[in-house]
Amino acid sequence: MSPLPSSAARPSSIASDHSPEFPLSVHDLTVAYHRKPVLWDLDLDIPKGSLAGIVGPNGAGKSTLLKACLDLIPKTSGEVLIYGKPYEDQRDLVAYVPQRESVDWDFPVSALDVVAMGTYRKIGWFKRVGKKQKEQARAALEQVGIGHLADRQISQLSGGQQQRAFLARALVQDAEIYFMDEPFAAVDAATEQAIIELLQELNSRGKTVLCVHHDLATVSRYFDWLVLLNMRIVASGPTKETFTRENLQKAYGGKLNLLEDAAHALQNVGR
């Protein structure tokens, strides 16, 4: 990788400064499925140490954005930089928590096995999961409050417990940036509270967390940075500045006809 030119050397048409200090820089990203664009010309910088939410209507491309950043789906054009380098060179810095439904929970492994999968990259090809990794996995399960379920088969975990196991799997990777796809979807209130506390704890240690989220009511309580997305970036910035009625209207358009929802959500601003 050649060093990036400083913002001064760049043409003025590029608004944001894609400096390598940013944990995540998205530059002119377009993604298309079967020639239909899903994400259109995104430019995005997430500052270090943010707890950032990605919010937008169904089909806005929120999950697609995460997947494109992680090379899970091809980019039509544009680039994504993790601390100034392509994802391929920075795999160790990123932990990904996919949507819970993306895997088969009837698979014959235990909660501990699932969490230990987070250490596979460090173990490398061929080698077995050792005592050390199992201890790490156990500690991560303790951290998410389900240490006592370590040896339970994942088919016997509740939805909330499954989500906690997934989170623990990300924790053992000891990454710098955490990509989470709807970690609060269909979990019980206790789990939601436990997860947000964990994310805040990660955040307080200077880690960057990026979270696809769908519940407008909790946005301003959970996130200090907000990306409003609907195929394009509607707004990206500190939640206090971006979480406005006008921006929500732009992101959700006609789909936000329940303006009361938005009004209710906006009441939480600044709390």
């Binding site: 795999r91 014959p108 235990s110 096995d113 596979y120 090809w125 080698k127 016997q156």
Partner: protein, 311 residues
């Protein structure tokens, strides 16, 4: 019935075949692509026929390489058709394997009909004849140890599968459970997918002579499916599949010899009875196993449907 050396040979071939198939079968089942075994066991046929045409011999390395290539092509074509043709995976598989199988049958009919690569044998195998072709393993003045050539080939396939799965156990598990995580961690799940397809192709070719391309599907899928009814622990699942595979083969051969004679009929085919017994074991476990139909539900506090809750 009298037990002959041929019976021992058939039993050995059957057990090794069933066990060799059960190993890749476990991962096919877990990846929810059991029918890929069906597709590949049929689609290897043109690979076999072409390899046979080039090398003019059976049971050679050419056959295995031809089959492995055909197996990978099946997986590739299926992938491409479902991706670019926008049809679902099952339909893509149906298109690919029937076409390849038909090409294979035509090739065999046209070119190899007068030699011993025979279409009927391809379909159901000829396990009864496997003891006729013996290989001497060890010989001195006092003793002679020989086994059917098929047993040697299938033993090799079993060893190959055990080695590959042993070596890539962690990678196979990850790629099967969560391909996205496998990819983000740089573990190349597609590579593991093709490796599994190669295992299935090689195993089905090794099994051709004994059980053909239809019964091999039962051997790939039924023992792992039975084990899945019993446990959700992966090492145990693999172990149980191997045990159930061997048991099914033993019971199959014994019953093929014993049951028909009880009602005054001639002995029936062993490979058919092996598949039948595997199915019978599945039925038994389905009815009587830990979550079996005939067991009372274990969950307490949930009233039976239609009954008022107990006070």
């Amino acid at each position: 019935m009298t037990w002959t050396e041929a019976d021992t040979g058939i039993l050995l071939v059957g057990v090794l075949c069933a066990m060799a198939c059960a190993l890749p079968g476990c991962f096919l089942l877990l990846r929810r692509m059991s029918m890929m075994g069906d597709a590949i066991s049929h689609a290897v046929l043109p690979g076999l026929a072409i390899a046979f045409l080039i090398s003019h011999s059976r049971a050679s390395w050419a056959m295995f390489i031809g089959a492995a290539i055909a197996g990978i092509l099946t997986a590739l074509f299926t992938q491409w058709i479902s991706k670019f043709g926008k049809v679902d995976r099952g339909a893509a598989m149906g298109i690919v394997f029937t076409t390849l199988f038909a090409i294979g049958l035509i090739l065999i009919k046209k070119t190899a009909d007068n030699v011993d690569l025979d279409a009927g044998c391809v379909l159901y195998g000829a396990i009864e004849f496997t003891p006729l072709d013996q290989v001497v393993l060890w010989e001195n003045e006092s003793s002679l140890l020989r086994v059917p050539r098929a047993a040697l080939v299938l033993g090799g396939a079993l060893l190959f599968n055990a080695l590959v799965i042993g070596l890539f156990y962690k990678e196979f598990t990850l790629a099967s459970f969560d391909p996205a995580l496998a990819r983000t961690h740089g573990f190349r799940p597609m590579l593991m997918h093709y490796l599994l397809m190669i295992m299935v192709a090689v195993t089905t070719v090794a099994s051709f002579e004994a059980v053909g391309s239809i019964i091999v599907i039962a051997m790939l899928i039924v023992p792992p499916a039975t084990a899945f009814l019993i446990t959700r622990n992966l090492p145990l699942l693999i172990g149980l599949s191997l045990g159930l595979a061997a048991l099914g083969a033993i019971l199959g051969h014994l019953s093929s010899q014993l049951i028909p004679s009880l009602i005054g009929l001639p002995e029936t085919t062993s490979s058919g009875m092996m598949a039948t017994m595997a199915g019978f074991l599945f039925l038994l476990v389905w009815l009587l196993g830990p979550q079996g139909l005939l067991r009372k539900p274990k969950i307490e506090g949930i009233p039976e449907p239609g009954l008022p809750p107990k006070l």
